[in-house]
């Protein structure tokens, strides 16, 4: 009887064969066959080499480049333009500060500093998930239809401005079993930063509605 360890090895081998099918051996590279030149041919070649070259007709300035040559020139110009744009874009990205910074502390907690609300939330939530931190950041938006549901707000406040810096600990005693903590953040109609911290049972909404200035949630538990 095959045991678990051997069966696993076998299924992995089969999966490897499916995932990375064996490539056919590459064909033998064509070798250039060098034909021996006869003395007469060599003489002719050396004579030609030292003969004065026939003069070419002077190029005319009105000459129009047609056909494949014209296409090649256009392709070269286009490639150069694309390359320049890419370099400019990359250069701009390289100088733009990161949307957020995350530092792991020696006690297991993480300190986060958010600089750009629009771009930080999604990657930060992914990072939290990867680090096993039961916390989600949820944007507060005007267009969102979710009012809050079974949310209890722990803290509500108005932040002064970005960067928004906070520390999250993996073990939080106030979190009821099965609940996920969240931090909701967004801007009020007057442009103030709104912040609310709370917890609720999953599934968590993807956004909260900005229902009043300084308030993110009408339902408190």
């Amino acid at each position: 009887m095959t045991d678990y360890i051997t069966s696993l090895q076998q299924t992995l081998r089969e999966a490897a064969a499916r995932e990375y099918p064996a490539r056919p051996p590459s064909p033998e590279p064509k070798r250039r066959v060098l034909r021996k030149a006869t003395p007469t041919e060599l003489d002719a070649q050396s004579t030609q080499r030292f003969m004065p070259k026939p003069r070419r007709a002077a190029p005319r300035f009105t000459r129009v480049v047609r056909g494949p040559l014209a296409l090649t020139a256009a392709a070269v110009m286009l490639t150069a333009a694309v390359a320049t744009t890419v370099v400019l874009l990359l250069g701009a990205t390289a100088t733009t500060p990161a949307a957020y910074a995350l530092t792991k502390n020696s006690d297991g907690s993480v300190t986060v500093s958010v600089r750009n609300l629009q771009t930080a939330i999604r990657p930060l939530n992914r990072r939290f998930a990867a680090l096993g931190i039961p916390e989600r950041i949820i944007p507060i938006t005007k267009a969102c239809t979710h009012l809050g549901g079974a949310v209890y707000a722990i803290k509500q406040s108005q932040l002064t401005n970005l960067p928004w810096t906070f520390t999250v600990r993996k073990s939080r005693k106030w979190l009821a079993p099965g609940d996920t903590g969240f931090m909701a953040i967004g801007r009020s109609d007057r442009g103030q930063l709104l912040y609310s911290q709370g917890a609720m049972k999953p599934p968590l909404p993807t956004c909260f509605k900005n229902i009043a200035t300084g308030s993110t949630d009408s339902t408190k538990r």
Partner: protein, 187 residues
């Protein structure tokens, strides 16, 4: 499982796998299943759970071997990094993830009592190392664990331990030296 000696290094086996050599991955599995199982048993305390997680770890390694860069971090550290991620992900979801195995259309294998004994047997040698690791002085134990098992960078390690990078290096080096000496004494 009859072990077949393969002279190729881990990096070569992973590169060969991505190049279409399915047997190379089987060799890589054979070489590291004991280590992966022992780390997972040590962390979970359950042979059954560890075996399940090991299956998922190797499936994820198979999917990711095309992205493995030879010459960088050792392949074993890379593999243990995957195992740690799978463990963390499973703890978060409260169930063993089978994402990689599903992507590869691999059947989920069931374990019987004999299989569990086989897992224990494989874990045996490595378990001794992990027990010895637990017996190291706290800074050395934490440093070796973070560096060897979690594949943490020295600067990260220094932050975790609240010391300089040089001191973190010393902790790792002394811890490994002590482990080696203990194992030699055992032998």
């Amino acid at each position: 499982m009859s072990p077949i000696v393969d002279a190729r290094g881990d990096d070569e086996l992973l590169v060969a796998t991505a190049g279409g050599d399915a047997d190379a991955f089987a060799r890589f599995y054979e070489r590291h299943i004991g280590l992966v199982l022992s780390v997972l048993v040590h962390r979970t305390g359950s042979c059954e759970l560890a075996a399940d997680l090991a299956g998922e770890t190797f499936a994820a390694a198979l999917l990711g071997c095309g992205r493995f860069r030879p010459g960088g971090a050792p392949a074993a550290a890379w593999l243990l990094g995957i195992a740690q991620n799978k463990l963390r992900e499973s703890a978060r979801r409260q169930r063993v993830v089978d994402q990689a195995r599903r992507r590869l259309a691999m059947p989920i294998l069931a374990l019987d009592d004999e299989d569990l004994l086989r897992v224990e047997e494989l874990v045996g040698d490595h378990a001794r190392v992990l027990t010895l690791l637990d017996e190291l002085p706290a800074p050395q134990r934490d440093a070796v664990r973070a560096r060897v098992l979690d594949d943490a960078e020295y600067h990260e390690l220094a932050t975790r331990l609240g010391c300089s990078e040089q001191v973190a290096r010393q902790h790792v080096s002394r811890g490994l030296r002590r482990l080696r000496a203990q194992l030699q004494e055992d032998a």
